[in-house]
Amino acid sequence: MELLMASAIGVLTAAGVYLVLRLRTFPVIIGTSLLSYAVNVFLFASGRLVVNQPPILRDGVESYTDPLPQALVLTAIVISFGMTAVAVMVALAAYLSSNDDHVDDQPAGLGPSIRGDSDRGDG
């Protein structure tokens, strides 16, 4: 299970970083979402992986799963959800106001239309 978790975190992070580096708003937002999934799973694993145990510390209960990372993950999920919503809105506003969905600065002298033609990859 450790292998599964570790590779899941690794694959999610790699995909997230790749998408963020695409520098177009849609891939970037998907990329940051993937990164936030990766970090959520990572946080979850930081309390050690335990299966089929209650997240409760009580007298007489010898084996339990650490409840704190679960609380942290909940907080992180809520925050990343809100942040993604804000990012989507700002990206939409940026796209609608300039008709260009590049995240990076435009090279001097190239307008949005020219940028669109000389684009890299499939976009």
Partner: protein
């Protein structure tokens, strides 16, 4: 005194919610409440500062739960110093925002402003690393709203870069916190400082990774090279009052570095020897140099000021990077100075931009505008302070940093970079100031004055009061440099002997987490008494 510690967090939070829900359509009342709330905040901050100034560490346990399981707020000298600085800045910047009408160019300015203050205050006061993350997010999400306040294509595009950069920074922060929790099983800063000191050297890999990840996160916030790319565009495109308030945002990064790397990963900790000490100082020196070169190369006054922020953060982190008590106290002095002067400069840029019509803040000559003499005078004073010429506080701050670097083996590097970058900054500011304010008369002679291009506006009263207040604070900081320096030395001593902090946090009694529910324990005790229990 008990509940006052949390007041700087709760007051703006309530104020913001109140303004969103009740005062949604009453702009005048919004202004009144926002200003009244911020002034109250300043009074509370001053009281907390006074209370902590004798070295008392005030602990606030949320819900009365004892650390490390409960969340704590801690008001010591460092935290209350930054709380007071933020509150002072907030009052003056808010005056400017109201006086210049910026707050009415979009909706919810005042609510977002209060949420931003809540995040800032929380970040300074918290004693828990995860809470630090949460307050970072609060201040960031409010800053996203403020950043794009007023709209416009360029602002949205730069705003998106800012949002994405900070989202990545937050992800990195969570990875760092997860690693720390996995290694130590706690996120309370005082508890961390005890547990990390006990980690054996052969099991230190994880915590070393976490220490470096964490300092990278704070370096992003503090715009340390090479993680500064978000700053120049964001600060020059942000609405002026927001850019001025953001002057404290880079200091949040510096604050977090100072706090975490004196308390949790102290410089003499064997585990993290040579990890960040080796490269923080060089990186800071490079960002100092790059920032000041940017000042020389900028083609607009707004970008010029934004680059001077990078340069001054480099200067500040150079002092932090020495990791000595003298270095930290010099860094704190420079942090206060740099916050005030950056804010003043951004506000001045806005006044100039508004009055030069189509030319905006470009560094080209334009016909003079009404009241230029006063604005030029204020710009002159701020530029002197920013470049670090005598007699203003920039000079004192720089002197303290140079003095603190004496015992470091890299002293020649520090001296060379700081002094030459100051020279570059002086040239950059002099060139910009003379183009904007002096060549204007020449431009007026060659060019027919178009009343539509250059609105004949006198400088409004409130903005000038706000900028004057910031510069007055700088002058006060210069005149009172002796007492300020004594206080900051005491602050830095408190940071380098964190025993009182740790004891206060860890040993103050509160509700304890028992094995099992507290309620159950009582019930069981009663049941046992009823049954004539064995003890």
């Amino acid at each position: 005194m008990t509940h006052w510690t949390i007041a700087p967090v709760v007051l703006p939070a309530m104020m913001a919610a109140f303004m969103v829900l009740v005062l949604r359509h009453q702009p005048v009342l919004q202004r009144v409440f926002s200003f009244a709330g911020t002034v109250t905040l300043l009074v509370i901050a001053a009281a907390l500062f006074w209370n902590a100034s004798d070295g008392t560490v005030t602990l606030y346990q949320l819900g009365d739960w004892a650390a490390p399981f409960g969340i704590v707020l801690v008001a010591d000298r460092l935290a209350t110093l930054f709380v007071l600085l933020t509150a002072l800045l907030a009052v003056l910047v808010l005056l400017y925002a109201i006086g210049s009408g910026w707050d009415m160019r979009g909706r919810h300015f005042h609510a977002l402003y209060q949420f931003q203050l809540m995040g800032l205050m929380g970040a300074f006061l918290t004693g828990d690393a995860f809470n630090l993350f949460v307050f970072f997010e609060v201040l960031l999400i409010a800053s996203y709203g403020l950043m794009i306040h007023g709209g416009g294509p360029e602002r949205f595009r730069v705003g998106l870069q800012y949002v994405v950069f900070n989202l990545l920074g937050s992800t990195l922060f969570l990875f760092a916190l997860g690693t720390i929790y996995g290694e130590t099983g706690t996120l309370n800063m005082a508890d961390l400082s005890q547990r990390i000191a006990e980690i054996p050297a052969d099991r230190s890999a994880g915590i070393r990774v976490a220490a470096v990840l964490l300092i990278m996160v704070f370096a992003v916030k503090a715009a340390l090279l090479p993680l500064h790319f978000w700053l120049p565009s964001a600060y020059s495109e942000a609405p002026a009052p927001v850019a001025a308030l953001f002057a404290i945002m880079t200091k949040v990064g510096a604050y977090a570095i100072i706090r975490m790397y004196t308390l949790v990963f102290p410089p003499d900790l064997a585990l993290t020897q040579g990890l960040f000490g080796a490269w923080l100082l060089p990186a800071a020196l490079v960002s100092c140099a790059i920032g000041m070169i940017g000042v020389l190369g900028a083609r607009g006054l707004d970008r010029l000021v934004a680059f001077s922020v990078v340069g001054s953060m480099g200067m500040l982190l150079t002092a932090v990077g020495l990791f000595t008590p003298a270095g930290i106290s010099a860094a704190l002095y420079y942090a206060i100075h740099s916050t005030l002067v950056t804010a003043a400069l951004f506000l001045l840029v806005d006044i100039v931009r508004e009055r030069r019509g189509a030319r905006g803040s470009d560094l080209v000559a334009a016909p003079p505008f009404t009241g230029a003499a006063l604005i030029a005078g204020l710009f002159f004073a701020s530029a002197i302070a920013m470049a670090g010429l005598p007699p203003l506080s920039g000079f004192v701050g720089k002197l303290l940093i140079l003095d603190a670097a004496f015992d470091d083996p890299r002293v020649w590097w520090v001296w060379a970079v700081i002094l030459s970058s100051s020279l570059v900054a002086v040239v950059g500011f002099a060139r910009a100031g003379s183009t904007i304010f002096w060549k204007s008369h020449a431009a007026a002679e060659t060019e027919r004055r178009d009343p539509e291009l250059v609105p004949p506006l006198a400088p409004p009263v409130l903005p000038v009061i706000a900028i004057g207040g910031l510069i007055a604070a700088l002058v006060a900081l210069t005149v009172l440099a002796g007492p300020a320096q004594r206080f900051l030395s005491a602050t830095s001593e408190q940071l380098f002997s964190p025993e009182a902090y740790v004891t206060e946090v860890m040993e103050t009694p509160g509700k304890e987490i028992t094995h099992g529910y507290e309620y159950d324990a009582e019930l069981e005790a009663e049941a046992e008494t009823d049954a004539g229990g064995h003890d």
